[in-house]
Symmetry: D2
Subunit: 340 residues, 4 copies
């Protein structure tokens, strides 16, 4: 039984970690923190937990080192690296859900975010996308959990990139539910500013673009454009990626490649020809669903969906923990979602 | 291990039964039927089940008797009683989610619905509300699963009724998400006819009124008025009940009564004073949450929430199955919901 | 041509006033203020106004007296009375959308809100519900625009109260879209905290209860209970009121009374028997729709809908202005709404 | 005063035509038809029209020739061309909202739709996109109103295409509200099948693709890919188009080109640099809003929004009528939308 701490437990990724970890047979949540709600029961903040998990929140700004075997950091970037420095040692697994430990090249990080104050820790961190880096994650002590958009985009492109099949531009048109913006109060996240509307945002300047770009460049030297949009719904990301194959292939052949690439992956589902994903079918699960169509002239469109809070954040973090600890990768993630 | 059949598996209650029963350690779904989708995999209709449950639908209109230990009937009223007659024997548990087996007095049923063609079976059926009738459900072979609105209303009123504390009118103002209308194509259930709108419907003529009324009358001879409204959301019912106490009591006292009444109930949660339920906190779970306020002059308002597809239908059906079979009542219902 | 100023123009009531007044043939918006957005074009804040109205916002905290013939105050209660004192003179019409000038009896106001600092002005203010107080509004200089919930509730009950037909309790179960909470950033108004959920709030302590109660008491000495609920949608209020007639009458008779009472009202529509309002049919218009059912035993249920930002706020404010100025009451309010 | 008939008045485009035309000072709606609702008042079907427009629907399947000066056909493709043949003469303006008269090359039409049974009429029809074909629309008797997606896509690309500035692929990622699917009952349009979900559909096979493609080819011989997605909201289309400029230019320069191209257009608004459209800002209006960003390496992304029922259907139809009749193009379209 591992003791687990959630640092910053009252945002959407924090409460999602709680819900999922309560189903995990080998861990126990022994620490939940919040500065805003310290001293209160988490089930008072999220009454859905009433009768299920009623622990009390302790301040984030305390010294929590050595208390847990695994820490999940659900903190803003910048803050997270400071906390990670404090908690880090060689017996503890730290999984950071901010952007602070996602970049091998800190120049890219610092251009998009802020000056990095824990560069050595960042350099030994592993980018926690199990489908690409499972071997490195095994036994890792410091894991940078990928961004939600990058998870959806990279999994959509990886089989093609790995084989070096793409050429020219890659345009990634992504759409996310509002929970991706977190639980902070801002005008743009108000119900009345989102409902019955749809918009692109951060066009050409979203910080997930360099994160996707650096992963793409590991396989092919291609330029991506990433445009995020805000969907009037709670959860889910759908990414539609447009590009060209160096030489045309059939949809069936490319689907075959995808099925082969992901055949041992417990959380990637490849659609049949003519079927495309809907966010409602990955909602509340750790799945990434992928469908695609290849055209006779080499153009290709790939559609992927994830739940931004599960495979795009807390679910993937648990998957990373399982891989790091060497236990069954699906523990805590055997969710049977409901419909509708 | 019990073999379970779901007759009519491609409506919302059917697919919810599948999702929940897949987490039940003592049952196996061995039969799923659909006339509309016969011959197709259920995961093609509901791709969220891909990789989780990929069985093939067989026609509803076949003879399924003797195949299963438990049958859930997710059929329209009228049809359901015919199917029940066919499947019934003393070794099988039948749980009917239609209205056909909810009424002890068939005159009431026939006034609201149609002529009953299985009156003997109806007379031996048990009204499957475990919080009120657990003892009768134990060992029962024919169970009429309560309606969604009645479940929310009766649980909200039961502690007061049982003690005979109410007087005068009872007004029940209920609001339901759209999944309560089922998965049939009708103008009134179209997205554009529901979204950004709210309305009362079936005012004074909804067939759940006699179902609530007959239960109320078992305890106190009081007249209810029940007005349903349609919420622009998928799941959840909130009922607000208004009445008067024969003699005024404090909110704290009445909450104490509720807590005492439901203290051994695994699926009823009583809110603290000043806290009231939100459908999002019972969404995807089998809980019924109840909050209330008593006024100095004897007036009282009680607010209850359920998930209409779980505690209001499929979850309660599984709870009934568990009670009938004499196994742990919470099996298949240990859901940790997610937020938001 | 009257010059009109909107003090606090960047909340939802402010921008609604702009949209409506742009269609008014006899007024010109010459002043729009905002402390938050001062110096910016209002069409930058609300780009739907681009090309339609591109004036610049000036600070609210400046001396605006004598600049306009009519002022609409869209300010928080407490602040509003201070501003009203400054702007008030006998040549100017002030219409206050806060609660500060709605109460003849300041004891009631102060119990629910704060100490009143402009009591003399409050005493000469008129409660701006034209259907009840049109004669007083004519020529008035200081008008307290009613709350959204009270508008929906009072219009629903007025014909019965006026005739003294009710007896016993009046329970008013109201449901409002989120725009009723304004454009302030608070957790409870975030998309993810509202969407796919429904809850009662301020149970027994909402400040619109004394506002409704004092109007009811002007006609019948009856006690109301008012319970508001939050709908997952932008706009609209539906109130369901439950009570009893002293002596039973038919639905047809009562509908006849309603049609007679409101027969000259341009903005009240009475439904036919068996038809009940939907908020989507009053959305974006100044209408109040009312349907009802009377039961044989004297019980009665009345359902009313309004758009909370139009008839519940800015539209009614314009109606009040028109009445006060003695011009056609429907100017600026001849909206043909669209569907869906 | 022109007499106007709406053939098929109870779908969403029909009721939108009614709402808009009621504000048009030079026309009178003298004919509304519906087979489904014949004999009923249109305000019974859409109660928002109560007190505003209460005419009775006559059967569509009657001979309506010679009754009106202008006919709007809101019928399914295939049916529409048959009706057009009947109504056509040289004194009447027919504006068809189906696809039947949008294609100069009937081979393209027949490949995507059905055999054309009115080919001569089709050949003299004008494609009703005023921003491109205003001169041809003037005096036209038979106008094919463009599809909603094509309107949003073509207006987004036209300034670049006209100047021949694009090269390589054009990927058009479009997202539409549910009203684009019409008011027919089908599973995929049910609230519970749309809400809290997002999906691509008709990938590579949507019939608006050839309509966009044939317009693009009039200017540049480039291949488009068009992928539509379904948004969980009522109204609005946002199209995000990705391509490359033959030679890189600044965002400012390209915006300048757009502003110049559309400078006399009453219904096209070009955003400032760094600002991108939101469907909620064109909702309920006839505007098309366009924002864009050009990258240093020649890549370009253009974002456009329309209301699919207004500029994408009924509003554009009225604009076409106004142009055809030679009257002020904005009559009936001077909508001041509300927020939120």
């Amino acid at each position: 039984m591992w003791n687990v701490g959630i640092i910053g437990a009252t945002g959407y990724t924090g409460v999602t970690l709680i819900s999922l970890l309560l189903t995990h047979p080998l861990v126990k949540i022994t620490l939940i923190t919040s500065n805003t709600y310290k001293g209160r029961k988490v089930s008072d903040i999220f009454p859905l937990l009433k009768g299920l998990f009623e622990e009390t929140l302790v301040p984030t700004d305390e010294d929590h080192r050595g208390k847990c075997d695994v820490y999940f950091l659900c903190l803003p970037h910048g803050t997270s690296m400071e906390t990670a420095k404090t908690l880090y040692n060689d017996k503890t697994v730290i999984i950071d859900l901010s952007a602070d430990f996602r970049f091998e090249d800190l120049n890219i990080y610092e251009k998009a975010y802020v000056t990095h104050t824990a560069p050595e820790l960042a350099r030994q961190a592993v980018f926690g996308l199990p489908e690409l880096y499972r071997d490195k994650i095994k036994g890792a002590k410091m894991i940078g959990n990928p961004g939600c958009y990058p998870t959806s985009a990279i999994l959509a492109l990886y089989p093609l990139l790995q084989e070096g099949l793409l050429t020219g531009d890659i345009f990634i048109d992504s759409k996310s539910g509002v929970s991706g913006a977190g639980r902070e109060t801002k005008i743009g996240s108000l119900f009345c500013e989102v409902s019955e509307g749809f918009r692109a945002y951060n066009v050409g300047i979203h910080r997930h673009e360099p994160e996707i770009q650096k992963e793409v460049r590991k396989f092919q030297d291609l330029q991506i454009m990433f445009i995020p949009h805000l969907l009037p719904m709670n959860r889910g990301i759908l990414s539609t990626a447009y590009s060209r194959l160096e030489s045309p292939q059939t949809t069936g052949d490319i689907l075959g490649l995808y099925k082969a690439t992901y055949k041992n992956e417990p959380f990637v589902r490849i659609m049949d020809e003519g079927v495309y994903p809907d966010t409602r079918f990955t909602r509340f699960s750790n799945f990434c669903d992928i469908g695609l169509k290849a055209f006779e002239d080499g153009r290709i469109v790939i559609v992927s969906t994830i739940d931004n809070l599960i495979k795009g954040a807390s679910g993937q973090a648990i998957q990373n923990m399982n891989v790091a600890l060497g236990i069954d990768e699906t523990l805590g993630l055997k969710i049977i979602p409901q419909y509708p």
